[in-house]
Symmetry: C2
Subunit: 209 residues, 2 copies
Amino acid sequence: MNDSTGPRSALQRKLPVVGQPRPERADARRNRLRVLEAADRLFAEQGVKNVSLDAIAAAAGVGKGTVFRRFGDRAGLAVALLDEREQELQAKILSGPPPLGPGAAPVLRVKAFLDAYLDLLDRHVELFMDSENASDGARYRIGSYNLWHQHLALLIEEARPDLDADYTAHLVLAPLAADLHKSLRDQGFDLPRIKSGLRTATTTLLSAV
Amino acid sequence: MNDSTGPRSALQRKLPVVGQPRPERADARRNRLRVLEAADRLFAEQGVKNVSLDAIAAAAGVGKGTVFRRFGDRAGLAVALLDEREQELQAKILSGPPPLGPGAAPVLRVKAFLDAYLDLLDRHVELFMDSENASDGARYRIGSYNLWHQHLALLIEEARPDLDADYTAHLVLAPLAADLHKSLRDQGFDLPRIKSGLRTATTTLLSAV
DNA sequence: TCATAAGACGGACTGTAGTCCGCTAAAGTC
DNA sequence: GACTTTAGCGGACTACAGTCCGTCTTATGA
């Protein structure tokens, strides 16, 4: 119980570096990929709503507990699956060419974002619905919502400093809710009509003096 | 099997009058009221999220099947409970004094509606969340949404005939989603701030040339 | 290579939404 | 008041989300 274990003190040996958590264990990584792959396949084959998490766990060859520990809940799994596609859009916004990326006028950037988001949403409505509705208020808790919100708030602040940018950003995101989009499409609204309506409203809202 | 049963033919005796379904049976009415009363009480006592439909059925002294046959699902029950309060607002819109009722300028009426709706929403967020989120797309299927939508569409058409009134009405209703409102309140937005932000945006959107 | 502990695994378990169908009671008919 | 029709009743049943905890695997370092 003295220092004779050598120059490496207990502190040096045992304290993990803060902010750098252990890397993912090999089995954890293997199972994570298996689950994502199985979910992707089953969702595509049978429709998001018709696949239970038991079924995904079984198809992935893992226990159900594993799925839940890793993804939290149904919404979490959907978020993970959407992540890849959303990251593409995020990258374009942060460092792509204008008008989506930096360089264009703020209102143009907002409109470019809405167009791009609507394309993404339209392509993956079901998955978005799952990620937004599977648990209460899920939409507003997930990272990407906050990222879109922050992006819009900055642009709005720039375009219309007289507005409450924080609130207005939520306002602009509200019509992008997955279940509203689904409902509109089911009612016969086509994508161009939705895009055009939203573009018009946004222009009016953000361009006025 | 001849006409000897008298002047009353089989047709006359048996055909129900179309479009006038049998009145509600006494036991059905009794149970409907019991369930609503029990639900109202339990929701108030324990919070909407913490009450199962089994519990409501038990408290009402009816079987679970009865609750589901009558209300369809959790959302349906919440809708039924909200109905009374929403009808009050509906009445004011249809025949109350301006600016909520007829007579005021369309933009003023829209703003009055938004204010009144936000008050209602803020007072019953939990119930609204249940009615909107308990089943997929429930918000857009229920009667009152369609009523609000129709009301707004007419006013928007009047104020800005150049806009796509049908779509724009959905746009105006989007920020009234219960889970967004809850999330905003949880983030510290107070009701006046929300009202003012929405009022400003609406004015800008509908008043521009 | 072995000992050890952090952490992942997975399936049994719980609680709830929603379905089903044989049974019961209310309304209408004579 | 008995008989028939029809709607409503209700609880057993299914399926699914999400939890829990004893067991097993991996990474580490000596």
